[in-house]
């Protein structure tokens, strides 16, 4: 129990260490269709690593290949073998960093990863506790350790009240939590979450994200794929953008924004809200507002010099007798950034 990190009160997130996973030239194809194309990536220990991409871009395939469930046609995924050695209680030199291939040391690698897929993966006709016990037993855990882990996870996942409930009778959020608990039962070093908040309402999504943070704070490296980009940018330390099987970029959300957000966005709400007239007025030659979009009751203006545009905007509103209700200036969100990055890369590729 003492070694189970979720039982430790102290957060010991280790960032400045060699990567726990090294993904090297990973290529995967189904038939003649290439799904993953030459992916190179390092995952640091203790980070929450997000993978974003549109549906069908290969996120799930990438995660499954990384976890060793699918074999790549080319490339390798290496994990910190010395961690395993230490876990087994063998003497090892702290400086002696060993890596092993996920595909060649499958049995050890399987102990390294915990995987919660899009669809909850447990027995619906077993109770919460029974599921945890069953999946724990598949990892040949000692009974005492298993019982202890179950108790901790039930508590951590807020499933204690439902431990005797059949899994099929759980709510969507509880199902997702049980699935994550099943993935964590064997105390993995890396937790892979594939779309952890899909099909959940905002409250449940928030609950899951809070849980992810809790797990991460206990020292578990988390790799997650999602298309809820606004959520990913808040919780992930780094984000990889994947498109058509390629990693387009890997950065922290802030750096991504800085890197790609050449403009800022000005969101305004006016009354009576004749945004067409405002747009016409702002689109005059020499204007610094180079993109104007009406979204719902808002007008969004993109500009590399927002202070000039705001000045022009206030003047125009006065002329058009529009009353300013709200104004907000910010860098664009990850959604917009993602669209921008992917479209730019696409344009670049076409140009090449």
């Amino acid at each position: 129990m003492a070694n189970f990190k979720y039982s430790l009160p102290k957060y010991f997130h280790i960032m400045n260490r060699p990567p726990i996973l090294k993904i090297q030239r990973l290529n995967k194809q189904y038939g003649k269709t290439k799904i993953l194309k030459n992916i190179n990536l390092d995952i640091c220990e203790g980070e929450i690593f997000g993978i974003i991409g549109a549906s069908g871009t290969g996120k799930t395939t990438f995660l499954k290949t990384m976890a060793g469930y699918l074999a790549p046609e080319e490339g390798d995924v290496k994990f910190r073998y010395d961690y395993f050695v230490k876990k087994k209680g063998k003497k090892g030199n702290e400086e002696n960093i060993l890596y092993a291939s996920v595909y060649k040391q499958q049995r050890i690698a399987k102990n390294l990863f915990g995987f919660a897929s899009q669809e909850p993966s447990f027995y619906s006709k077993l109770t919460v506790r029974e599921n945890l016990k069953y999946f724990g037993s598949l990892y040949s855990m000692p009974k005492k350790a298993l019982d202890s882990n179950i108790e901790i996870l039930l508590s951590l996942m807020d499933l204690k009240q439902a431990e005797k409930t059949l899994a099929k009778d759980l709510s969507g959020g509880m199902e997702r939590r049980l699935d994550i608990a099943c993935a964590l039962i064997h105390d993995p070093d890396v937790l892979i979450l594939d779309e952890p908040t899909s099909d959940l309402d905002p409250m449940l999504r928030a609950h899951i994200w809070s849980l992810v943070q809790k797990i991460n704070k206990k020292g578990t490296t988390i790799i997650l794929a999602s298309h809820h980009l606004s959520e990913v940018e808040h919780f992930c330390s780094r984000i990889a953008i994947i498109k058509d099987g390629r990693i387009i970029d890997v950065e922290s959300p802030a750096r991504l924004k800085t890197k790609y957000a050449e403009s800022q966005e000005i969101r305004i709400q006016t009354y009576p809200g004749n945004y067409g007239n405002i747009c016409k007025a702002l689109k005059k030659p020499g204007s610094r507002a180079y993109d104007l979009q009406v979204k719902g009751s808002e007008l969004i203006i993109y500009s590399d010099q927002p202070q000039i545009v705001i000045h022009e905007l206030l003047h125009t509103l006065e002329l058009l007798k529009e009353e300013l209700i709200d104004i907000n200036v910010s860098r664009p969100g990850l959604d917009e950034l993602f669209l921008k990055i992917t479209s730019e890369k696409e344009r670049g590729q076409k140009a090449r």
Partner: protein, 581 residues
């Protein structure tokens, strides 16, 4: 239009689920094809008949020849026990036991026993029918030959009687001649003249009598006269009544005179009578002459009749001889009892097992049937459930080996089947008094191997098929084929020989037949080891194939390598890592 679209969609789904489509469409055709093949070339049963004849004589040989000439396989055994053993082992279907002294005689009918296994419920009556028919054929032949002997005896008797009849017929002329002779004698005898002689004698007699009377009367009257004269003379002394006496004397004299007067007439009459007598005597003499002649003729005829009678006596002696011969002929027919002639040999059907309940006989088949269907359906369902379960992915990403899952499915199914089997066996033992514990160890082993085989087969189906319904259908089809091509529905012996030879290795047949033998006969582990080894070996082979198949699938998904693939972080990498830190 909407309906067409939905139907088209259904067909597409069906066709794209290849295994299910194959089972749904081809499965029934396959069964029909198999059944067609099985029955197309076969009109009778492939029976094996064993026999034991403690003493070999012509009659036994004749029966054996009839058996050998039949379409069935016939095998001789040195004793009854070995023959019965072969029935128990299912090698032969019936055992014919000839009596020690098989004879056809009036002293009771010979009894041929044939032993059958009533636990082969759907075959036993065919066996009885077929073998009875064979024995009946031979019995009929014997009956025919007995009848022939009887008829030839009768024919000989008829022939003899014909000859004897000619002898009897030869009596006729002789008897006719005798009759004629006797008739002639009778006529001659009748022709003899006795009546005329008698008449004449009466006349003489009458005349003599009359004369005698007259004389007597004369004598009387003369005596009376004398007496009267004396009296008269006396009276004369007494003189007083002379006058009266005179009158009386006169009357008497007159009477005497009268009498004297009539006497010549009577003498004449007598003369006449004597003449008549003389004539009569002449006639008698004449008649006597005639009679003598007639008597001579009678003598001749009687001689002739005597000759005839001697001849008849000789013929009668011949007839007696002939009749004696006929009697001997008839007595030489050994079998005259109608019952023996009609049915010279009795057949007695005896079971090789004492059990009489059909339920006992069908129980092994039903138990294996339950094991088969539960094994196939349960294990395929568990596999399919696992495959389609949400937890399939999580099981596969765990470090647990696939063999473990295969084995756990097997053990789960085995526990369920074992529980069911124990309940069924318990009920059978308690309510039906089926002797389960005669060969408990062997039966348990067999049930284990049978369960193992069908569970493994069901699991293989589960791993092959991609949909639950496809797997269930395949399991049902598989079970039905096993069931149909087994002894429970139609005897194996009724199929074409090549099908029969294959179907003897039908696991359902192997298991049910062995279980039947175990429950009913004293089959040893050694004797049942081959079947158990086959079932166990097949189960193990399927297990290995499943493991290979599952591992191949995994390898296809994840290319495993025997190399450790462990490497130290290269200095360049370490430097790069430090830089990034």
């Amino acid at each position: 239009m909407k309906l067409l679209t939905v139907i088209t969609k259904n067909f597409k789904l069906l066709i794209r689920s290849k295994a299910s489509a194959f089972i749904v469409m081809v499965g029934p055709l396959l069964i029909i094809l198999l059944v067609g093949f099985a029955f197309s070339t076969k009109t009778s049963y492939e029976l094996s008949i064993g026999y034991y004849a403690p003493e070999k004589n012509n009659l036994t040989a004749s029966f054996v020849d009839t058996l050998k000439q039949s379409q069935y396989q016939v095998q001789e055994f040195p004793d009854e026990q070995s023959c019965v053993k072969r029935i128990e082992q299912g090698i032969i279907h019936t055992c014919i036991i000839f009596p020690e002294n098989l004879r056809i005689s009036n002293q009771g009918q010979s009894e041929i026993r044939f032993l059958v296994d009533y636990s082969r419920i759907n075959l036993v009556y065919k066996v009885i029918g077929s073998v009875s028919a064979l024995l009946d054929i031979e019995s009929e032949e014997v009956s025919y030959s007995l009848t022939q002997i009887l008829i030839s005896g009768i024919n000989n008797t008829i022939r003899d009687l014909r000859q004897e009849l000619s002898i009897v017929e030869s009596f006729n002329p002789k008897l006719n001649l005798l009759s004629v002779d006797l008739q002639g004698s009778k006529q001659n005898s009748e022709a003899m003249k006795y009546e005329s002689v008698s008449l004449n004698l009466e006349s003489i007699e009458d005349s003599v009598a009359s004369l005698n009377e007259s004389i007597s009367e004369l004598i009387l009257k003369g005596s009376a006269l004398i007496n009267d004269s004396d009296a008269w003379l006396d009276d004369l002394e007494d003189y007083e009544n002379v006058s009266d006496k005179r009158e009386e004397f006169d009357a008497l004299r007159e009477e005497l005179s009268n009498l004297y007067n009539i006497t010549p007439a009577k003498i004449d009459d007598l003369e006449i009578s004597l003449l008549v007598i003389s004539n009569s005597l002449s006639e008698i003499d004449k008649s006597m002459s005639q009679n003598k002649e007639l008597n001579q003729e009678i003598q001749q005829k009687l001689d002739s009749a005597k000759n005839s009678l001697v001849s008849v006596q000789a013929n009668a002696a011949n007839l007696k001889k002939a009749l004696d011969k006929t009697k001997q002929n008839l007595e030489s027919i050994g079998v005259t009892s109608a019952e023996t002639i009609v049915s010279p040999v009795n057949t007695k059907i005896e079971p090789v097992v004492s059990e009489t309940s059909k339920l006992t006989f069908t129980f092994p088949f039903l138990l294996v049937l339950v094991i088969m269907f539960v094994g196939l359906l349960l294990s395929s369902s568990i596999v399919m459930f696992e495959k389609s379960s949400k937890s399939f992915f999580r099981n596969h990403i765990s470090p647990t080996r696939q063999e473990f899952f295969v084995l756990s499915t097997f053990i789960t199914s085995l526990i369920v089947i074992s529980a069911q089997t124990i309940i069924i066996l318990g009920l059978a033992n308690y309510f039906m008094h089926i002797p389960l514990f005669k060969n408990a160890l062997c039966a348990s082993l067999l049930i284990f191997f049978t369960s193992a085989f069908f569970i493994m087969l069901g699991m293989a189906i589960g791993y092959i098929f991609s949909t639950q319904e496809g797997a269930i259908m395949a399991s049902v089809v598989m079970g039905s084929v096993f069931l149909f091509l087994s002894n429970l529905v139609i005897p194996l012996e009724s199929f074409a020989p090549w099908i029969t030879s294959i179907m003897r290795y039908n696991p359902y047949v192997l298991a049910s037949e062995l279980l039947r033998k175990l429950l009913l006969f004293n089959v040893t582990i050694k004797e049942s080891s081959f079947t158990m080894a086959l079932l166990g070996g097949a189960a193990f082979l399927i297990f290995i194939l499943i493991i290979i198949s599952v591992n191949l699938r995994n390898k296809k998904r994840v290319k495993a390598s025997k190399e450790p693939g462990i490497s130290r972080e290269s200095p360049a990498e370490k430097e790069e890592a430090d830089k990034s830190d």
